[in-house]
Amino acid sequence: MKKMQKSVVVDHLCRVEGHGGINVTIEDGKVVRVEMDIFEGTRFLEALVVGRSYNEIPPILSRICAICSAVHTITSLMAIEDAFDTKVSSQTKLLRDLLVQGGNIESHALHLFCLALPDFLGYSGAFTLVSDHPQEVKIGLELKKLGNTIQETIGGRAVHPVNAILGGFGKVPTKETLLRLKEELIKGLEEALTAIEFIASLEIPNFSQSPTVYAALGSSAQEYCLFGDKIIFSGGESKEIESYKEICNETVVPHSHAKQSHFKGKPFMVGALARVMLNGHKLNSEAKKAKEKLGLDSPTENILHNNTAQAIEIIYSIERSIQIIDEIVEKGIKDEKLVKIKPKAGQGTAAAEAPRGTLYHSYTFDKEGRVTKADVITPTAQNLANAEKDFRASAERLINEPEEGLRAKLEMVARAYDPCISCSVHLEKMGT
């Protein structure tokens, strides 16, 4: 007898960055195949930088992605400095942290308010949502702007920062500039806290619930942090950052231009939800209260809560930014010269928490400081296998749902990951 087969296809995912789709095949009432297609074109950037001098690398690789360009830049700088044993000042580290927090606020605000929120309220996007919910969209845009103001003030540009360079900053911001920024942050915090009340009132469906392994950077620091010294997992395991390739054992899959990652044979999730699940106990003050208010103080395996985790992180990133400014101003801001770079042959690896999860950059240099091999592993690439697991769980639970509804819900799952598809199409040398 011929099997009853139907395919649920999302041709072109909307309200995500880049070009991708979803393909679910259901046969005799069972989900038999699930694929997240990535059809963004490949740019071979990591192969193209081979032969280039070390100082040319960060601005080129920041072009992997506009929305994560700040954290790409910083991770790239850290990987080069790791290779050449360059030690930057504590002020530089704080300013880099501030820049990365700016990127986190901007990216989360864009995703949460403009891209994901319309799903929960039944709109096609922020442009239509704004007519009935002007206040929420306005707060979202204000917070997004706040993140961009940080990136412009510290990085010199909201997209592809220019001021963060090897050994420090082209121009160190003045005390007055930082204090003005702090005023904006204090205003932004108030707005963000109003938004938390609204987010808390949303109903988060649980059709995508499924057992999940979380991964994020862990650190010995007392406080929640977007940097770290090892990779930690929800099963309690941990790994050195340098051995990231063991978990990002990337597989090329026929339906996608991006590669996939597994840990101990299982997919894993990186991103705001993974961070809150693994490091949430380190949150303080308003971010801690937001976590309780949004119900994330107990474990969840529902990817739709990545949206709520982003709301918590917006609060965290604003509070952390204020804290950084206070610390720099208290110590007295210094117009530091750049640390001199002494290129040598070797390898350098660095990781940071990008808005969508752990980002790795790793380079090998010859003795003149020219790249012989470059490798970048982005969060979205790591999340693809886990997203397919969640599509499967959702489709199985919603098997009797009319096709249109199922398609919309699968899109919601995809969007919850806040996928950055430009980022995920990235490249590494195989088998060498």
């Binding site: 072109h12 909307c14 309200r15 995500v16 960055e17 880049g18 070009h19 963004e40 074109g41 490949t42 740019r43 071979f44 950037l45 192969a47 193209l48 032969g51 001098s53 040319e56 601005p59 080129i60 072009r63 992997i64 992605c65 506009a66 929305i67 360009s69 864009l110 403009c114 319309p118 096609s124 996007g125 922020a126 442009f127 239509t128 704004v130 845009l141 204000e142 997004k144 702007k145 961009n148 010199g156 540009r157 909201a158 997209v159 592809h160 220019v162 001021n163 360079i165 900053f169 082209g170 121009k171 090329v252 026929p254 231009h257 899109e411 430009s422 490249l427 590494e428 040398k429 195989m430």
Partner: protein, 255 residues
């Protein structure tokens, strides 16, 4: 008067131009009052895939055959097609080594499994379709985009500077990084519009906006050679953002 019907599309790139549009936080609601946005996949669902468009913005470079087809379809639907950003205008970073075969890059990066998709050397939009107007930049400057929208809704063609970043830098009274500090600065041959952004942070121009009209590449290269840079390093920098530009191709062909 009816609002112009507008589409925003992306070929391959970092989505920087679409992000810059969404970064117009203070102006976004006003933009919606004057433009009827019919297609903008990054920002909304329920896009109209068929309607005729008055103004179409396209970012990114063409790097796969499917994009060439899509771009030609978009062109047919559009009265005005505007290339946004250095990838769309000049090919961008993906085009820096177009002379290396895509097959070799695929083999290096994906191994035998790389056969599953097609890839072509990265090209700007004008290699495939007529482009009515170009706004370069990596990413574009928000102000230039807003000025362009303002001009277009009034039926005007936007006006962009035709001089070099070097001119803006001098007007800002910065110390010359090329002549006085001997740094590899492409300000003299790069089109203005960023108000010499990098230079005001003491960082040399990397040429991210692409070449200015009638750029004197030979003279720039001579100065850089005098400053001690090797031809290899100079050419690497020249290739980074706008390698397919005719003025650069002519220069490379002479070497």
């Amino acid at each position: 008067m009816a609002k112009p019907k507008v589409g925003v599309f992306g070929m391959t790139g970092c989505a920087g131009e679409q992000i810059v549009i969404l970064n117009c936080e203070d102006e976004l609601m006003d933009i919606l009052k004057v433009l009827d946005i019919r297609s903008f996949h990054t920002a909304m669902s329920k896009n109209d895939e068929k309607c005729d468009l008055d103004i179409t913005f396209v970012e990114g470079a063409v790097v796969q055959p499917e994009e060439e087809v899509l771009l030609k379809e978009i062109r047919k639907r559009s009265r005005l097609l505007i290339a946004l950003g250095t990838c769309a205008v000049w090919g961008g970073v993906a085009a820096m080594k177009n002379e290396v075969s895509r097959q070799r890059l695929k083999d290096e990066v994906y191994g035998p499994r790389g056969q599953i998709f097609k890839s072509i050397p990265a090209q700007p939009l004008h290699s495939f379709v007529k482009v009515d107007f170009s706004i370069s930049g990596c990413p574009i400057e928000k102000e230039q985009f807003l000025q362009a929208v303002g001009a277009l809704v009034h039926g005007d063609i936007p006006v962009l500077p035709k001089y070099a970043v070097c001119t803006e830098c001098k007007m800002n009274e910065n110390t010359c990084l090329l002549l006085e500090k001997g740094e590899l600065c492409l300000g003299p041959i790069t089109v203005a519009g960023c108000n010499a952004r990098c230079l005001s942070y003491g960082i040399p121009c990397s040429g991210c906006r692409g070449p200015v009209e009638e750029a004197n590449i030979a003279s720039e290269v001579e100065i850089l050679k005098e400053k001690g840079f090797t031809l290899g390093d100079i050419h690497n920098q020249l290739r980074t953002f706008a390698a397919p530009a005719e003025v650069l191709q002519t220069h490379f062909a002479k070497r």
